[in-house]
C-alpha cells in the first residue's frame, strides 16, 4: 500500500511537471535561431564552391544541418576555428587539399587568347567577369574573390590565377617569430587585401 502511494505520488508529480514543461515549451518557444546567418557571416564569401555547395550560403545551410565545417579552403584554419566556437563542435583539420598560404589571388584573363565563349561568366559566382558572346572578357579585379571557378570551364585555358602583391596601401606588419627567435629581420611584408 505504502509503495503504491509512493508510486502514485511520484506519478502524479511526473504528470504535473511534465504538463508544466510541455506547456512552457509551447508558450516560450524560441523562434528559430538564425544559425545559418551566423555561419554564413563566418564564411569567407568567396562563393568558390570548393565545399561542394553552390556558394557560401548553401554551405552554411548544410553546416547547420550537420555537415562537417572543415570544407572551406579559402577560410582556412581560422574559419574552422570560428565555426567550431560558434557551433560547439570539435576543431577538425581542413578537409581535402590544404590551401598553401594566405596568398590572395585574382583571376586574370589573357585577353589576346579569349574567344568570348562566356563560359567563365556563367561560372563566376559574383559576376566579376564582364564580356559578351564572341567579345573579349575581362575580370573586375576588385570584385574577384579568387575562387578560381572560372579557370576550369575555360576551353582555351586563358585564365590565370595571379597573386596580388602588397602595395603601400595594402601593406602590413608581420607577426614576430616568438620566444627564442632573434628578430633578425622582423619586418616581413604581409598583404592585407
Amino acid at each position: 500500500m505504502t509503495i503504491l502511494i509512493a508510486v502514485l505520488a511520484l506519478l502524479a508529480l511526473a504528470v504535473v511537471f511534465g504538463a508544466l514543461l510541455g506547456f512552457a515549451s509551447e508558450k516560450f518557444r524560441v523562434e528559430g535561431d538564425p544559425i545559418v546567418d551566423q555561419i554564413d557571416a563566418l564564411l569567407p564569401q568567396t562563393q568558390c564552391g570548393q565545399c561542394g555547395h553552390p556558394g557560401c550560403r548553401p554551405y552554411a545551410e548544410a553546416i547547420a544541418e550537420g555537415e562537417d565545417h572543415n570544407r572551406c579552403p579559402p577560410g582556412g584554419e581560422q574559419t574552422i576555428q570560428d565555426l567550431s566556437d560558434l557551433l560547439g563542435r570539435e576543431v577538425l583539420p581542413l578537409d581535402g587539399e590544404a590551401d598553401s598560404a594566405d596568398v590572395k589571388k585574382v583571376a586574370f584573363i589573357r585577353e589576346a587568347e579569349c574567344i568570348g565563349c562566356t563560359k567563365c561568366i556563367q561560372a563566376c559566382p559574383v559576376d566579376a567577369i564582364v564580356g559578351a558572346a564572341r567579345q573579349m572578357h575581362t575580370v573586375i579585379a576588385d570584385e574577384c574573390t579568387g575562387c578560381d571557378l572560372c579557370v576550369e570551364p575555360c576551353p582555351v585555358d586563358c585564365i590565370d590565377m595571379i597573386e596580388v602583391p602588397p602595395t603601400l596601401t595594402t601593406w602590413g606588419w608581420s607577426r614576430p617569430d616568438g620566444v627564442g627567435k632573434t628578430p633578425e629581420r622582423l619586418i616581413n611584408v604581409v598583404n592585407l587585401r
Partner: protein, 340 residues
C-alpha cells in the same frame, strides 16, 4: 651595405631578465648566511642540491617539449625557484624531500603550464605546499637556533640518516605561539618567543631578508608596492587584536619578524609572473596576502601561512587585475569585459 632591418625602437634599456634573476639570487645571500649561522649547513646544502635538481628537471622537461634547452635555462628562473624553495624548507630536510619539492615546482607548477611567464602559481610555493601537506612531520622539524650542528651532522641529515633527529629539533616561534596561545604563563616560559625584539633567532633571519629586499628595491628589481602592502596589512591586522588580548595574539613586531613574513614579502609575493600586474592591483593583492597570513596564523591549522596565502592570492590575481585596469589616455573610464 650590411644593414639590419629591424623594428623600432632601435635602442633598449638596460633591464634584462637574466639580470633580474641574478639580482634576486644575490639578494637572498644575507638571509641564507644568517640561516646557516643559526641552523647549520643544512640550508646551504639544500640550496645547492635544489639548484642542481631544478636545472636537471627544467632541462629534461624543456627537452621533452622540444624547446631550446640552453636558451631557457639561461634565464635563471629555475634557479630562483630552487633557491626560494630550499630557503623555505627546514635545514634538516633530507635530499629526497628537496628533490620532490623542486621537481614538483619545476615540472608541474611551472613547465606543465607552459614555462616561464605562463604559470598561474608561484612554483616555489606550490612545491612547498605539496611538501607541507604530504610530509608534515619532516616539514616542521626546525632546529633550535644558535645550536647549529656541525657539517657532518648536517650532511647526515641531508642523506636521510636519522640522527636521533627528534632530539635535535625544536619548535619555531610561530609553532610555540600556536601551541600555547591564550596561556600567558606558558607563553612567557617559551624561550623561542623571546628573542631580542621578536622570535628567538628568527628576528635575525627576517632582518637579513629585509636587507636583501631593500637592496632589491634600491636596484629597482621590485617596486615598493607589494612588500609595503603585505607587511602593512599584516601589522595592521595584528595590532588591534594584540592590544586587545596580548596573551592570545602576537604583536605586529612578532608577526613581522618571527616567521616568513620578510622572506615572503620581498621574495615570494613579488614574483611578477603570478602576482597582480597593475600598481593598484599589486597593493590589493599584497594587502590581501598580509590579511590571510595573519588570519591563518591566528586561527588556522598551520603555524605559518605564507605559502597558502600566496597561492590563494595567485588564484585571485587575474580577477584583481581585471578590476584594477587603468583608464587609458583619451578614455573617460577603464574598459571592462574581455572583449572579443
Amino acid at each position: 651595405m650590411n644593414l639590419i632591418s629591424v623594428t623600432s625602437p632601435h635602442t633598449t634599456g638596460p633591464s634584462r631578465t637574466q639580470r633580474v634573476m641574478a639580482q634576486v639570487l644575490l639578494a637572498t645571500l644575507p638571509g641564507l648566511a644568517v640561516l646557516c649561522g643559526l641552523f647549520g649547513w643544512g640550508s646551504l646544502i639544500n640550496v645547492v642540491w635544489a639548484c642542481a635538481a631544478a636545472l636537471a628537471c627544467e632541462a629534461a622537461v624543456l627537452r621533452l617539449r622540444g624547446k631550446p634547452v640552453g636558451f631557457h635555462l639561461a634565464d635563471g628562473s629555475a634557479l630562483v625557484t630552487a633557491v626560494l624553495l630550499a630557503l623555505a624548507i627546514p635545514p634538516t630536510a633530507p635530499w629526497w624531500l628537496t628533490l620532490v619539492g623542486v621537481g614538483f615546482a619545476i615540472i608541474f607548477a611551472k613547465q606543465l603550464y607552459g614555462g616561464l611567464g605562463m604559470n598561474p602559481f608561484n612554483p616555489a610555493m606550490a612545491g612547498y605546499v605539496l611538501l607541507l601537506i604530504s610530509f608534515p612531520v619532516d616539514m616542521t622539524r626546525w632546529l633550535p637556533p644558535f645550536e647549529a650542528p656541525d657539517l657532518a651532522t648536517s650532511l647526515q641529515l641531508f642523506l636521510g640518516r636519522d640522527h636521533g633527529i627528534d632530539a635535535l629539533t625544536g619548535a619555531t616561534p610561530l609553532d610555540s605561539l600556536r601551541t600555547w596561545a591564550g596561556d600567558a604563563a606558558a607563553l612567557a616560559a617559551q624561550p623561542a618567543l623571546h628573542g631580542t625584539f621578536a622570535g628567538l633567532g628568527w628576528e635575525w633571519v627576517n632582518l637579513a631578508f629585509l636587507a636583501g629586499g631593500l637592496w632589491l628595491l634600491w636596484r629597482r628589481v621590485i617596486t615598493w608596492h607589494i612588500p609595503a602592502a603585505l607587511l602593512g596589512a599584516l601589522a595592521l591586522c595584528a595590532l588591534p587584536f594584540w592590544l586587545h588580548d596580548s596573551a592570545r595574539f602576537a604583536s605586529p613586531l612578532f608577526h613581522l619578524f618571527s616567521g616568513a613574513a620578510m622572506f615572503g614579502a620581498f621574495f615570494i609575493a613579488t614574483d611578477p609572473v603570478s602576482a597582480a600586474t597593475s600598481r593598484t592591483g599589486r597593493l590589493i593583492y599584497a594587502a590581501l596576502i598580509g590579511v590571510l597570513i595573519w588570519v591563518i596564523r591566528s586561527f588556522g591549522g598551520y603555524p605559518d601561512a605564507m605559502a597558502f596565502a600566496v597561492l590563494l592570492l595567485n588564484l585571485a590575481a587575474p580577477t584583481i587585475d581585471y578590476y584594477t585596469q587603468p583608464r587609458s589616455y583619451g578614455h573617460s573610464k577603464p574598459k571592462r569585459g574581455i572583449g572579443g
